[in-house]
């Protein structure tokens, strides 16, 4: 076991980092899109032009 501890620990560490990265990416992307959408709506971006 002792000689293989490094390989087991590395496998769990890599998996944790990758899954945590996916979760963080999803959360940060959600915040970015929500903020961008709120800013556009606040500027009235969805309204059609009176000329158009």
């Amino acid at each position: 076991m002792a000689t293989h501890t490094f390989f087991i620990a590395a496998a769990y560490a890599v998996t944790t980092v990758i899954v945590a990265g996916l979760v963080a990416r999803a959360v940060l992307d959600h915040r970015t899109q929500k903020r961008a959408l709120a800013e556009l709506e606040a500027r009235g971006a969805g309204r059609r032009s009176r000329h158009g």
Partner: protein, 245 residues
């Protein structure tokens, strides 16, 4: 399914479902890790190194699962023109490549102490590497074409071409003489793994599936928001153009 084809309705349903699915993901991951570390015995040949298998095998299944989902979504885009098919496809690719990457890395980390090498050009390992490269190509193509509908059609064709690799990955251990062991769970005649190891493995697979489904739903929701932002940005630019004119 038809009802969910409406992005607004999908956002409403998925928003309610997501917290429950995340809760189930956390719960099953906790149970799975407890079973792996405190209940599952050491293997008589592999010793404690078998604990890597509780990550490696579910990651491999999820890598294949997400590609299969992308292939079905590709059909949805090209044949049925389902409005959420390409959204599903785009959200699945980063998750699929991540799980395939976990499979490759944990497999290598298991291979070094067990086989004496991190890598061999064996049919199973090579076909999984091809799967990883297919995911990378698909992600690159999504980023290369700006217009979402054009990108979706091009990616769908590439995805369907790459789907030929899925049965190759699955049956490579049967068709060729490989260093990688043959299937030991999903096989004719039932699993060859003892229940004391099979149950923790299946719980970990369930946990990975919940994690993957949560990430996929969240990714789809973000993609729908991104497209709304894109549409509103274009509308705003048109309105400003009209005002100037």
């Amino acid at each position: 399914m038809r009802e969910l084809a409406n992005p607004t309705r999908f956002m409403s349903y998925s928003g309610k479902l997501l917290p429950w699915l995340c809760g189930l993901a956390v719960l099953t991951t906790g149970i799975g890790l407890y079973m792996t570390w405190f209940i599952a015995p050491a293997d008589y040949q592999q010793g404690e190194t078998v604990k890597i298998m509780y990550l490696h095998v579910p990651a491999a299944w999820l890598g294949l699962f997400f590609y299969t989902m992308m292939a079905v979504s590709a059909l949805g885009t090209l044949v049925w023109r389902h409005p959420l098919a390409d959204v599903s496809q785009k959200a699945a690719a980063p998750i699929g490549i991540a799980f395939t990457g976990i499979c490759l890395v944990t497999g290598s980390l298991w291979g070094k102490p067990m086989w004496g090498t991190y890598w061999v050009w064996d049919a199973r390992l090579t076909s999984v590497l091809v799967l990883f490269l297919m995911y990378a190509g698909i992600l690159a193509l999504w980023n290369a074409i700006e217009e979402p509908n054009r990108a979706a059609r091009a990616v769908s064709i590439l995805t369907l071409v790459g789907a030929i690799n899925i049965p190759i990955v699955k049956f490579s251990v049967d068709w060729w003489n490989t260093l990688h062991q043959p299937a030991s769970v999903f096989r004719m005649g039932g699993p060859t793994i003892h229940m004391s190891m099979l149950i923790p493995l299946l719980v970990m697979a369930l946990a990975f599936t919940f994690i993957g489904v949560c990430l996929h739903l969240a990714g789809m929701r973000n993609e729908i928001l991104r497209r709304r932002v894109r549409t509103l940005t274009i509308l705003e630019a048109e309105r400003l153009d009209a005002q100037v004119a």
